[in-house]
Amino acid sequence: MTSVLLMLAILASPPYHPDLDERVMELAKQLRCLVCQNETLADSHAELAADLRQQIREQMKDGRTDMEITAFLTNRYGDFVLYRPPVNPRTYALWFGPFVLLAGGSIALLRFLKRWPGLMKCRPLSKDERRRATALLQFGRSPNTEVYREQFAEMESDYRTGFVDLEQFERDREELERRLLEDCRPTFRCRRGR
C-alpha cells in the first residue's frame, strides 16, 4: 500500500523548470540517444543528439509542452526513444508487474504465516526421545550437535540473565531437542495429532 502511494507521489512531483536550458536538459535526460544508445539525449555527444536537443529547444520556445515534444519524437522514432516507458497495454506488465508481485508475495506470506503455527502442532516428545536428545547434546560428535550445543548455551545464558522465564526456556529447550533429533536422526519426524 505504501509502495503504491509512494510511487504516485514520485510520479506526481512537479518538475522544476526555471529556465529554458534547464528545461531542455530535464527533458533530454529522459530520452535515449539513438546513436550512442547507452546515453541520454542530454549527455550524448553525437551530432543527431545535438540536432534533437536543438529541435527540443525550438519547440519549447514555441510554447509546446513536454508531452507534445515527446509525441513529436515518438512519432518519428518510436517508443524506443523514451527512457520512461509509456503506460499502455503493451507495458502494463512492466509497470504493474512489480506491484502484482508485491501483492502476490504479501498475500502468500500472510497466508503462510497464519497457517504456520497450525502446521507445526507436533506431539510432545516422549521421555525416550528427550533422553536421546540430551545424550546427543552432551556427547554428540557431529557438526550438527556442535551447532546445537552452542545454541543451547545461548539459551541457557538468556535464561540466567532473566531474558526468558522458566516456562519459555523449557518450551525453547524442547523445540531445540526436536530440531536436533530431526537433523541427527533421519527417521525422526514430527508426529501430528494430540
Binding site: 539513438l34 546513436v35 544508445q37 551530432e47 540536432d51 512519432n75 518519428r76 522514432y77 518510436g78 524506443f80
Partner: protein, 173 residues
C-alpha cells in the same frame, strides 16, 4: 508441485534469451511504416534553384535513399544502387544528409549517380522527420505516398532479393 515453479520460470526466461540471440538490440524499427511519407520541399543538389517534393511522385513506386559523402557504409551499398538504377526497376531519389554540396557532387562523380533527383538536407531536419538516425537508410514509398519499408543500414543483396524487389513488384501491380 509448487517447487517446480522456479524451473518453469527459468525455462521461459531461457526461451526469450535464446530468441534474443537472433535479434539486434540496436535496430530501431520505424514507426512510419504504413504511414504517409512526411512532406518536404528541398532544393535539388544539381540545380539549387529548383526544388523537389514527394508529392511529385504520387502514383509511382519509388525509393528514397539517405546518403552522405562522409558516410563510409554508403560506399558499400552504392554499386548496388547504381546497378538497380541501370536495371530500371524502380526510380531512386537521394536525400543528401548533412553534407556539403561540393563534396556531395564530387562523390557522385567518383562513385556514379543512380539518382533521378537528389535533394539537400543540410540541417538534417527532414531526416529527423523521417526518423533517420544513421546513414545510409532507404525508404520504399508506394503509389499513394505511404512508406512501406525501411532499410536500416546499407542495402544488401539479400535485402533486395528477399524483401525490397518482391515488395516493389507487388506494389507496382
Amino acid at each position: 508441485m509448487k517447487f517446480a515453479f522456479p524451473l518453469v520460470l527459468f525455462v521461459v526466461l531461457v526461451g526469450f534469451l535464446g530468441m534474443g540471440l537472433w535479434l539486434d538490440p540496436h535496430l530501431v524499427p520505424s514507426p512510419l511504416i504504413d504511414r504517409p511519407a512526411p512532406e518536404f520541399t528541398l532544393a535539388r543538389l544539381d540545380e539549387p534553384g529548383r526544388t523537389f517534393s514527394p508529392k511529385e511522385m504520387q502514383g509511382k513506386v519509388w525509393l528514397l535513399n539517405t546518403w552522405a559523402s562522409w558516410c563510409v557504409s554508403c560506399r558499400q551499398e552504392h554499386p548496388l544502387l547504381v546497378a538497380l538504377s541501370q536495371a530500371g526497376v524502380v526510380p531512386i531519389f537521394g536525400l543528401n544528409y548533412k553534407d556539403n554540396r561540393g563534396n556531395a557532387l564530387d562523390w557522385l562523380n567518383e562513385m556514379g549517380n543512380p539518382y533521378v533527383v537528389n535533394v539537400q538536407d543540410t540541417d538534417g531536419r527532414v531526416g529527423i522527420d523521417y526518423g533517420v538516425y544513421g546513414v545510409p537508410e532507404t525508404y520504399l514509398i508506394d503509389k499513394a505516398g505511404v512508406i512501406r519499408y525501411k532499410q536500416i543500414g546499407p542495402v544488401t543483396l539479400e535485402a533486395l532479393e528477399k524483401t525490397i524487389l518482391p515488395l516493389i513488384r507487388s506494389l507496382s501491380r
